[in-house]
């Protein structure tokens, strides 16, 4: 290396050092000193369950596809989650077939309602008013939300739930509805594509492509009932969906668990306090 080249290299180094010093000075002048710190955010339980020592995951009014027994699977999953993540003792009992219970109750009400009505029904308004007091027939199979709706009356039957509560020595009762349905949607989907520009530099570009996708929708409603009174303490509804490309074949049961995985933290949070771990930045 010649003397001139060495001098030029020295000048370049000095220049870099000066630039670095300026950059460092500017950074500290702008007050960007920061410290990453782990935090644990405590989230209080939505429900005060101190009055209960035990919990009964009774069963669910389930519908949708036949490939998955959503009632049995939901009961099994919630029980196993509560055993490890809640202080409540989980009662081991067969999952109740609530569709049959609701249909039986509906038949009983209809039978008691067979007595002749004193008031004649004339106008459509009067007819619908008169129908409001009558039981709406329950569809034998639940395929969608509309089929599910009339079954929800079962949860308002406090006498029934009180009786179930007495049977199991007044626990907290968890019940509700679960609808697991197939779903398909087509449309434009944005996805990242990797390519190289004319200078050979790697770049990632978003590309919109038309795709037909299929998957599942999970609609879950949890109802928490006081086993001492039969009254509803709290209810929460969730809707989750998952879509796959047409070529992908995913078993319905694994999609069900994938969707339940998203709902479970919220369910657990209703009954027990949780800590959510994360990282934040402290600034000077």
């Amino acid at each position: 290396m010649t003397e001139q080249a060495a001098a030029a290299a020295k000048r370049r180094n000095r220049c870099f050092a000066a630039l670095f010093a300026i950059a460092a000075g500017a950074t500290s002048a702008c007050g960007t000193t920061y410290f990453e710190i782990p935090i644990e955010t405590p989230i209080r339980a939505k429900l005060d369950v101190s009055a209960f020592q035990r919990v009964l995951i009774a069963g669910f009014v389930a519908g949708g596809i036949d490939d998955v027994d959503a009632n049995q699977e939901t009961v099994r999953l919630l029980r196993s989650q509560l055993r490890s993540k809640s202080s409540l003792r989980v009662i081991d009992a067969d999952a109740m077939e609530l569709i049959a219970v609701a249909q039986e109750q509906s038949r009983t009400v209809a039978g008691a309602d067979d007595s002749p009505r004193p008031r004649a029904v004339g106008s459509p308004e009067e007819f619908s008013e008169a129908r409001a007091g009558q039981p709406v027939p329950l569809p034998p199979q639940i395929k969608d939300e509309r089929d599910m709706e009339p079954y929800e009356r079962l949860f308002a039957n406090t006498a029934y739930w009180k009786r179930i509560g007495e049977e199991y020595q007044n626990p907290l009762i968890v019940t509700g509805t679960v609808l697991f349905m197939p779903h398909s949607r087509s449309g434009f989907v944005s996805r990242d594509v990797e390519d190289y520009d004319s200078f050979g530099r790697r770049r990632i570009r978003p590309v919109r492509t038309y795709m037909e996708r299929k998957g599942f929708i999970l609609r879950q409603k949890f109802i928490f009932i006081d086993g001492r009174t039969g009254a509803t303490l709290h209810s929460q509804s969730h809707r989750e969906e998952v879509l796959y490309s047409q070529q992908q074949t995913t078993p319905a049961l694994s999609s069900y668990f994938e969707l339940m995985d998203k709902i479970l933290p919220d369910f657990l949070q209703a009954l027990s306090s949780q800590k959510i771990r994360g990282t934040r930045v402290l600034l000077k």
Partner: protein
């Protein structure tokens, strides 16, 4: 003449106020520093106390509000955390670190209150 007097007074006021501001800020910075040191040792209540002092001393100090928000979040005081983050962002809307903290905080809030729920 009047213009000269006015200019002198302005300069004088600036000269007096500037060290005062510097003092206020350096007092607040000292509280924030101490808060960070104790938070790193897990003493979050003491940290919150220090950061509360810092924002009292200097209510324009965005970093102090940010740290206070983090402290509140760690203690589960989510409403107070939200208010402190919003104050920090109002003071420094383009600060990426405050914005990132706030986004993460909101994510937790969405997760915990995202579903529709009702209690009679």
């Amino acid at each position: 003449m009047i213009f000269r007097v006015a200019t002198c007074l302005t300069l004088l006021a600036g000269a007096v106020a500037s060290p005062l501001y510097a003092d206020t800020r350096s007092d607040a910075v000292a509280q924030v520093d101490f808060g960070i040191a104790v938070a790193q040792k897990g003493l979050w209540r003491e940290a919150i106390y220090r950061w509360e002092r810092a924002v009292e001393i200097d209510p324009t100090y965005a970093a102090a509000f940010n740290d206070l928000a983090v402290g509140y979040e760690h203690e589960g005081q989510l409403e107070k955390a939200r208010q402190a983050y919003e104050k920090a962002l109002a003071l420094e809307p383009n600060n990426p670190q405050i914005r990132q903290n706030y986004e993460l905080f909101k994510e937790i809030n969405d997760r915990t209150g995202g579903s529709s729920s009702e209690t009679p």
